[in-house]
């Protein structure tokens, strides 16, 4: 049994932490609410440097063109991103987009993975729909073969990183009914394709997303990723990895929130003494620290089981995200409460961190949905 980071991961953590700390201001500037000047939603300069540092490569295996890619590599990177409140779309471009192309792509398509690792290409997964909620198989967007072409019709909801993406990976149904796992295909769609309309907007917790309308979007058959109607397993695998990464990011943000709160309790004076000297507040801080360690262990459990059976993965991931969801809400709300009004201001770092923690719950299944998945998996 050994819970220490390997030497390589320790180095990755150190260099990423240092880099993010040194670039705090640029990171912060790009996370401002509704940041109108920045149509990307993040800082392009930082993205390039993350690639140079090898941070993107660390999310892919050697076979895929990277140099790491295991569960604990993902958590090492995302925990640091979370601590810094970074909104850079590593989840969307690398884990989801890059991961799916690496899993399903032809040799030609896989050249994109190399460009992702190099920081030259951005991707977005256009999968969720207005009626799909958190159900991965609920795909109503249709793909119809017409001679040598494929026509896509439908609407994709809250496509994170869509406007910055060079390619969208669009899911569509070639057979079966909405809700069937079989029949779902993925297509590589250049963002400027005719028939694809993006309506972009800022996200409350930073970054950008878009509604994607597909109206008679015509693709050639080689735009398909993998075989027709068989993409579900790869989608599941990519979102599993994304959920582990997201849980780690939230853990990092929780660390930052508790550290800021601890610091504030020690310095803020009311009634002639630091408010951290009041026992009622000391106990609440202690509760946050207890829950933080619970969350850390839950993330370790999930990351350590990313290479196991589908059932075991599902159990561990739903457990981690349920726990991180519960503990995260507590940490976010209590950190704000223990600070008071100051943490309600957009300018104060904790406000952004708290939003990162809470809004993570709205991707891939919220705390309650994870509980249901865990129950299903336990009963199976």
């Amino acid at each position: 049994m050994n819970f220490d980071l390997t030497e390589e991961r320790q180095m990755l953590q150190d260099s990423l932490r240092r880099f993010l700390r040194d670039n705090q201001e640029a990171l912060r500037a790009s996370t401002r609410l509704g940041n109108a000047e920045n149509s990307l939603g993040f800082d392009a300069g930082i993205w390039t440097k993350l690639a140079e540092l090898g941070v993107i490569g660390a999310l892919f295996s050697e076979e895929e063109g990277g140099f790491a890619g295991a569960g604990f590599d993902l958590t090492t990177v995302f925990e640091e991103l979370g601590r810094a409140g970074a909104v850079e779309p590593l989840l969307d471009t690398a884990i989801l987009g890059g991961g799916l192309i690496a899993a399903l792509g032809t040799e030609t398509q896989k050249e994109l993975v190399e460009q992702v690792i190099g920081g030259e290409v951005h991707l977005a997964l256009a999968h969720g729909e207005p009626n799909s909620r958190y159900d991965l198989a609920q795909v109503e967007t249709m793909a119809k073969v017409e001679g040598d072409d494929i026509i896509l019709t439908g609407r994709k909801a809250v496509v994170v990183n869509a406007e910055a993406a060079d390619y969208l990976i669009v899911s569509a149904r070639e057979s079966g009914a909405a809700g069937d796992e079989d029949g779902i295909s993925l297509f590589l769609v250049p963002r400027d394709s005719a028939g694809l309309t993006l309506r972009g907007y800022a996200l409350l917790a930073g970054g950008r997303a878009a509604e994607a309308d597909l109206e008679g979007l015509r693709l050639s058959a080689d735009a398909r990723l993998g075989g027709p109607g068989t993409a579900y397993a790869a989608l599941k695998r990519a979102t599993n990895r994304a959920e582990v990464a997201l849980a780690a990011e939230t853990l990092g943000a929780m660390e930052a929130a508790t550290e800021m709160t601890r610091e504030y309790l020690l310095t803020r004076q009311q009634f002639g003494r630091p408010i951290g000297s009041f026992q009622a507040l000391q106990h609440r801080m202690a509760t946050l620290l207890i829950e933080l360690e619970q969350a850390r262990s839950a993330v370790i459990n999930a990351a350590g089981h990313l290479e196991t059976s589908a059932e075991e993965q599902a159990l561990q991931i739903s457990a981690a995200r349920n726990l991180v969801g519960r503990a995260g809400r507590l940490v976010a709300e209590e950190s704000i409460q223990l600070h008071g009004g100051i943490a309600m201001t957009e300018e104060y770092e904790l406000a952004h961190i708290a939003k990162r923690i809470v809004m993570a719950d709205h991707r891939f299944g919220d705390t309650d949905t994870q509980l249901e998945r865990f129950i299903d998996q336990s009963a199976a």
Binding site: Y134, D135, A209, F271, G341, M344, A354, K355, V358, M359
Partner: protein, 399 residues
């Protein structure tokens, strides 16, 4: 024990319902229902409609142009306003300053300021909190030094709600720096157009501009703007705070919020069924509703005692804590019901009612409101301060 409203109270409720059905503009109630911002003009419009009806000041004595309703009538009025999605009445002049002027102000102050509050000529804001004086309000540092026929005010106030719209501010200022904390404070009325006052916006984490910093640099305030006696301001401030705590339970807001959650959940499909039929989600909504039903009766118990002339005790602190916990839980449920559509931040969709929500109805405001309403347990005496009050009364000694 009788849980029913009297015949007179029921008739009063019908009268309020009738008024709201006729006079509350549809676009206004629609904006409120969707959790949108109303803006200054919207507030002023509703203020004028209520004033015309003579219902603007439910708590004022009739001699000052108020309704002089008892606590039960006020509760019925507030409940029906919430149910009809009427805008909140901006409380700073009407519900907070006015009772202080009526009790402690001079005849000249009453004659001058009270009619201007009703007419909407003056928009008041509150200058209480300072960066270093939050829960410990009595440690405030803004100084007022007497110089002939005026005071010279220097310092900074913060969390000044809707100060950007106000032309007057009532302030707690320190007039005797040597006295024990609470005894050196005075209550001043200050014209926001006086030279030396600067209002700086504070943007909150949901992107809204509802609070401000107000800076005072050598601001000259005529001595006749002092309310009551010099150095007695703390007494008036405490009196005002008891008024700030009326409708503290927010029962109407919670009811409206719960209805909105149920509506949204019935339109969202989750695992093949409407989310409202999902056992986990339904259980959480039910728990909030059960808490609200009980809290609402606690609220009525206190109101009916108040109507009989008894002063509320620690119960108002209890209501503040429980009421805000329930509202915040309902905000959490709304955010969850919205699913992925809680994530977008579309500022155009948060103002007025013209832009439809990207996702299900009510989804655009769900997460911003969840974050914005974290303030409920912080302001008006934080929930920690309320628990200190309860503990102090029940356990004695220092809290």
């Amino acid at each position: 024990m009788d849980l029913n409203y009297s015949v007179e109270e029921q008739a009063f409720r019908a009268e309020v319902q009738e008024f709201l059905a006729q006079k509350l503009p549809k676009e206004m109630s629609e904006a409120i229902r969707l959790g949108r911002e109303l803006g200054k003009e919207g507030h002023e419009k509703w203020h004028a409609i209520l004033n015309e009806q003579g219902w603007l000041a439910p708590n004022w004595p009739q001699e000052f142009g108020g309704c002089e309703w008892n606590a039960v009538q006020r509760h019925i009025f507030e409940e029906e306003c919430c149910r009809a999605h009427a805008p909140r009445i901006v409380p700073f002049g009407l519900a907070m300053l006015a009772p202080v002027l009526q009790k402690f102000g001079s005849k000249a102050q009453q004659d001058h300021y009270l009619p201007r509050i009703l007419s909407g000529e003056d928009w008041w804001c509150q200058g209480y909190s300072e960066p270093g004086a939050g829960s410990d309000l009595a440690s405030l540092k803004t100084r007022a030094v007497r110089n002939g026929d005026h005071y010279v005010v220097n310092g900074q106030k913060t969390w000044t709600t809707l100060g950007q719209h106000a032309n007057w501010i009532f302030c707690l200022v320190r007039t005797d720096p040597d006295a024990k904390q609470q005894s050196g404070i005075s209550f001043l009325l200050i014209d926001m157009d006086t030279p030396g006052i600067e209002v700086r916006p504070i943007i909150l984490l949901d992107g809204t501009h509802e609070v401000n910093e107000v800076w005072f640099t050598d601001v000259k305030v005529p001595v006749e703007n002092l309310v009551g006696e010099e150095n007695k301001g703390w007494t008036y401030a405490k009196y005002l705070l008891t008024h700030e705590r009326t409708n503290i339970a927010g029962v109407g807001f919670s009811r409206a919020g719960l209805d909105a959650v149920k509506r949204m959940a019935s339109t969202q499909m989750h695992r093949g069924k409407p989310l409202s039929e999902n056992a986990h989600f339904a259980a959480r909504v039910a728990r909030a509703e059960i808490d609200l039903m009980a809290m609402s009766t606690t609220n009525l118990r206190i109101i009916s005692r108040a109507a009989a002339g008894q002063a509320p005790g620690v119960e108002s602190s209890m209501l503040k804590v429980k009421g805000t916990e329930i509202r915040q839980e309902i905000n959490d449920l709304a955010r969850r019901a919205a699913g992925a559509y809680a994530m977008p931040f579309v500022s155009e969709a948060l103002e007025g009612a013209n832009e439809p929500d990207m996702g299900p109805e009510g989804s655009a405001a769900a997460a911003p409101q969840y974050f914005n309403n974290r303030k409920l347990s912080i302001f008006g005496g934080s929930n920690e301060v309320q628990k200190n009050i309860i503990a102090k009364v029940k356990l004695g000694g220092g809290a």
